[in-house]
Symmetry: C3
Subunit: 187 residues, 3 copies
């Protein structure tokens, strides 16, 4: 009932890939901008960004299995759908144009729908934890002058007010994928 | 198999909350505007607006149970997902920017998806009834000079052409939540 | 286990209807424009466009049943939801405003979600085949000077870069509806 090295690698790769796609959207739409360009860039992101998202995905997976046994039953479609849901919501943060009430209500309700679709109780804890911890980390990154959010996307102490909704979906999806990686072996 | 006073209160509160969130989005995006400001305002809405939506939610719940027995089985996630779906669609009416064909097709197909996901036959009747009754009520509100829709959102006799899709989702979700309130006790 | 003439007619009508709704959105939003107006128009589309989409829907249905037995169990809601999903995604291609990374990531992830929700293995093959064959056909239509995509929507050799995501959803939905048409009789 534990994650093996290959599982951790998969979680890292999945998180890094989702982070790269979503971040490219945020940068290209002008929602966010990187100020510090001392690190090498991958697509639109400095190397440390996908690394951070990948590491966070691994951490959530470990926490999920520490919180309780994964649900049995493996279906790759569930994991793919969880991943695609987060990429879709991430893209909505770019398409919606700002972090006013409509965009925030949309992103948060989509995050809640992802939680209803994929989370058990431990998964929900992972989602809420991500929603609580993620935004302060992004605020710190902005405070360190590594990146900034556009004026239209900075209502939450300098970062997007829709971030909690996006992180909720991210935490729930990472937890669900970790469950599936174990269920793949144990049936 | 009947709604108790607490159930009615929950339906009212859930409807009023969803109405407030969605209406704040419509007002902030400029889709709608309140002309009469004689009533006290809550967030962006005059007090009578969430009261109307709450009362309509109660009415739909009562009609749902009058139309047939609720489905057994209680899962809070279903009710939360139904609520979040309506808030998401309401927000889409603000984000989409107008009530041209793309926005209307998007909102109506999302309303149909909500009906497919949550409605049984009586629930579908509730949704269709809401889609038929809701827009004329909004037209009356506009005719009474209490509020108005922006020029870009007034193709249905002065109100948003996407309203039937939104009300369909609203009616279905209110009916589903009423079912769950009964199933919570009866199992 | 085969499609009857009535089934083919239903597939054609469903495809033509979806094509008309989605294409009206693309034309009205300015994403696409018809250059040749020698054919009679239906709504915003020349007659040959819904005919092409209807024929493609029939072809996908035939291929789906040739690839394997349809899943048993008939529920009209599944077919309606599959249809509404494609119309919703088609509308998103109009609402999103361009075919930059956010719009493409959104449309492709929604297409993947539709595949996860509705496809079995043969259905997925239908979806991938549509995603591979559809865009070159549209490129040919543009090359023939029958229509054109706006500059903001022409990143894929003159057509929308989101087209593969839309065609994936289309192929999966057409296959699922074909399955249901057979299951309606065989139970």
């Amino acid at each position: 009932m534990r994650l093996r090295p290959t599982d951790l690698l998969i979680l890292f790769a999945v998180g890094a890939a989702g982070g790269l796609i979503g971040d490219a959207g945020n940068v290209q739409s002008g929602a966010t901008r990187y100020i510090d360009d001392s690190a090498p860039f991958v697509w639109e992101s400095p190397l440390w960004f996908p690394a951070l998202v990948g590491a966070a995905t691994v951490a959530i997976g470990v926490v999920r299995l520490w919180l309780g046994a994964p649900r049995p039953g493996f279906d790759a479609r569930i994991g793919v759908a969880a991943f695609a849901s987060v990429v879709a919501i991430y893209s909505v943060t770019s398409v919606a144009g700002d972090d006013g009430t409509p965009a925030v209500a949309l992103v948060v309700s989509l995050g809640v729908l992802v939680a209803c679709a994929f989370a058990d109780r431990p998964g929900l804890i992972c989602g809420v934890a991500a929603a609580v911890i993620g935004p302060p980390v992004e605020i710190a990154i902005v405070e360190l002058d590594l990146s900034e959010y556009a004026d239209s996307h900075d209502s939450l102490f300098g970062v997007g007010l829709w971030l909690p909704g996006l992180y909720l979906a991210f935490g729930v999806a990472a937890a669900r994928i970790a469950e599936l990686l174990v269920a793949r072996r144990t049936g």
